[in-house]
Symmetry: C2
Subunit: 238 residues, 2 copies
DNA sequence: CGCCATAGTGACATATGGTCACTATGGCTG
DNA sequence: CAGCCATAGTGACCATATGTCACTATGGCG
């Protein structure tokens, strides 16, 4: 049998396979806090619980797994986030009551203002502060996935300014530093923080400033491709 | 309908889903070269081409995706490698002629001597030098997956001694350094290389030595958990 | 106008990798 | 068996990046 004959006769459903879904952990920085986007599950299993925005691959609409992740995020937020990266794939026999299932997970970041989530309490989509996560009942292993994403983002905070994608287009250095401090779980030295960003020439200073009770801080925008820059040395993690 | 009723009536095959496979890039260091394990495909599609060791999840035998990766590696090599880590998940409409398919990829490392692959030219399993990869016709997007794994391992060489898992239990520092040099693609300063490993106290010196034409080099073993140690500063990548 | 709060800098200490010449060691060979 | 060779391993100094912290700058407000 040659390959053409094989393909013509191939039955995609010949074997039972694991369920396959795509989920995203979308973070934003809002009111001095890290928030994650949650969606109330409309269907069984875990109906009524909160979970990550995600779903099944639509083999017609999606060309790639990332397409699936972005499509689902767009359905919930109306926009595609400026940062999305694959986090990990979890798969086992017990994570879903329906049996063997696999989820391909993405981490995404967006500015809070760019993402109009209905703030009413009856909404099926809401931002939840990371610090409030323990009072929400999460579906499946989504708690674990969020913890994974948070840990990965912490690592990125140590050697990059990727977290800046969770801020508005224009932001101040103290804002960015505070976000990094939240992720790393430790106060940082502003001198060290500012210096490395300056040396790497990652940000573009605008001529605007923003007052916050003291001396107004300069507003910056990210330079192109500064999201992919990595410092050769990590910030002190201890 | 409550959840129990839903689950009782749930049809896992209600939707067409992407094909799901698990593939591993198993590296070893042998004769001063990096090698990757390839398997000749016995079945369509791409029958006869070489590909990564992998296959479908066996929902009875495997509890997790990593179980699948390890089971397939054990089938080809007889053993489970001492290092295995998820690399990435690739999924799109075109990578497999059968249609939408997803592969969860792992990177694994093993000592060449611990992994008895039949060396005969008719074997269906063989080590291929990374430098010889371009003369082998690889199935699917496996070339791309190997490149991804190599890039990731290069990064690890810059901030950890994870590559040591591709060496025998006892190895010399010049050996380890040469392996890192292959991965990073650049000669390293032996003083820098040795110093950081000493300072982090990652290796246990044995009282054995190995001669290689000059002064015999001390043999070391990895200390427990030195595989998860990360240096706060990267080696110079330029 | 002077205080307050926060932004931003100067200057020095510390830590770690880069460099390279120098020493150490075992095998081989004349 | 002495001396050479090749490779292992070290000493010492340099370069660079972050840590620390006190000091200066700036705008708002009473």
């Amino acid at each position: 049998m040659d390959e053409k004959e094989f393909l013509d006769g191939y039955d995609r459903n010949g074997y039972a396979t694991p369920l396959l879904s795509v989920d995203s952990v979308l973070f934003t920085y809002y009111e001095q806090c890290l928030n994650v986007l949650l969606v109330r599950r409309a269907n069984h299993p875990d109906k009524g619980k909160w979970g990550l925005p995600g779903g099944f691959v639509n083999m017609q609409a999606d060309h790639t797994l990332e397409d699936t992740a972005m499509r689902k995020l767009r359905e919930k937020t109306g926009v595609v986030p400026p940062y999305i990266e694959q986090l990990a794939t979890l798969g086992n026999r017990v994570r879903d009551k329906r049996g063997w299932s696999v989820t391909v997970c993405y981490t995404a970041l967006i500015a809070h203002q760019d993402c109009m989530v209905n703030a009413s309490s009856v909404s099926e989509v809401q931002w939840v502060r990371l610090t409030d996560l323990d009072v929400v009942e999460l579906a499946f292993d989504h708690q674990e996935i969020i913890a994974l994403a948070q840990e990965r983002l912490k690592q990125k905070a140590l050697y990059s300014i990727v977290p800046a994608y969770a801020l508005p287009e224009k932001f101040t250095l103290p804002e960015l530093q505070h976000l990094h401090e939240l992720l790393i779980g430790k106060k940082l030295q502003k001198k060290s923080f500012r210096r490395r960003i300056e040396q790497a020439d990652l940000l573009q200073e605008t001529d605007e400033k923003r007052a916050e009770g003291g001396r107004p801080a300069a507003l910056y925008t990210m330079k192109k491709s500064s999201g992919s820059y990595t410092f050769i040395r990590n910030l002190d993690d201890r």
